[in-house]
């Protein structure tokens, strides 16, 4: 009877030891995740070339005093721009105005030059802003994907503020500003 009990204990002990061995094995695997984030981000880049100024030179036809019809300036290229997510590009511009002659111009004269600024390369339809227009429906354009690439800013369609019948007052400096804004559309 005593021997029988001892054997029973050994068997039970054997089963008890065997159970963890069934649950475990001679190899084990553990895993862990690695996570991180990248924020929605836009960078404006830099303007290529010597400076960021469109220099139009003399604005008027010196024989008539009217705005030249052949005004032009090489386009500016903005490099290194990117948005890490879908985005909008907006271009805004202010008319060129006489910087010294700030009074209301006399009859028959104007101290502003309107123009149209476009920013292309970012979207299929370039963003466009005409300074003489009251509503700027094309000034903001959207793209649905992240993007990096050059933005070309060009000026065109120069016109005398107030109408083509006006002449421009003399001034050493007419100045306006073009602003291109990239916005991440998170």
């Amino acid at each position: 009877m005593k021997t029988y009990l001892q054997l029973a204990l050994v068997m039970l002990g054997g089963w008890g030891a065997a159970t963890p061995a069934l649950a475990q094995s001679d190899s084990d695997t553990k895993q862990f995740t690695v996570i991180g984030t990248v924020p929605a981000l836009c960078a404006g880049g830099t303007i290529a070339g010597a400076n960021a100024t469109f220099d139009l030179g003399v604005l008027v036809d010196t024989s008539t005093g009217f705005l030249r019809t052949d005004l032009a300036a090489p386009a500016k290229t903005i490099t290194g721009s990117f948005c890490s997510i879908r985005s909008t590009i907006r271009v805004e511009a202010t008319p060129m105005t006489a910087q010294t002659f700030t009074a209301v111009p006399p009859s028959g004269f104007s101290r502003t030059v309107d123009y149209t600024a476009t920013a292309s390369g970012w979207t299929t339809t370039p963003a466009r802003y005409a300074t003489e227009e009251a509503i700027h429906t094309d000034a903001t354009q959207s793209r649905a994907t992240a993007f990096t690439g050059d933005i070309t800013v060009a000026l065109s369609q120069f016109s005398t503020g107030g109408g083509t019948a006006l002449r421009l007052v003399s001034d050493p400096s007419y100045s306006g500003t073009v602003t291109v804004t990239l916005t991440a559309a998170d």
Partner: protein, 192 residues
Amino acid sequence: MIRVRLLLTAGLLMSTSPAWAQQGDADTAEVAVNGNVAPLCVLGSPSPAAVDLGQMVATSGTRIGRIAVLPNHVVNLPGSFCNFAGSAIDISVSALIASDASTLQPGFARAVNYTASIDNWSSTTTSATSAATKEGGSPTATATGDTQPLPKIADLAATLSNFTVPSDLLLVAGSYQGMVVITLGPAAGGGS
């Protein structure tokens, strides 16, 4: 009278002797006690259970939008052991891939590669470095370490380092996720 008593006493002593002899011859048995220990490898639970790299790109300066210098991260697997000779560790590392699955645009990547290494199991460091493409293809790399010739218990430490982006491209925005899988078991061609 006294002599008789002594003799009787002696008789008592003699009578006890056969009793001892009889017990010594009576019975002897041996019962074998056998057991075995199964080969086991057990890894401790990873601590921390997940590694959060946080925000991974530079947000200013010349490297804006590109991966920042990220510090190493260590995950501990305390009390990991193999109770047999001839074990080896296996590391599988999967690159962090962006959750955004839209078409990848030129100039961008959606993968962050890194190295996972463990240096305290065998005599040499075991490390695996993912080599996902910019689109996130082939994100997983594996490595098997040298054989540990003895049963061993150790607080394993997995170090994550060397976070890079294919061609150092800009990273698309979004959340990223990767995974490290560590396996401890018999070495190929040896062990239990």
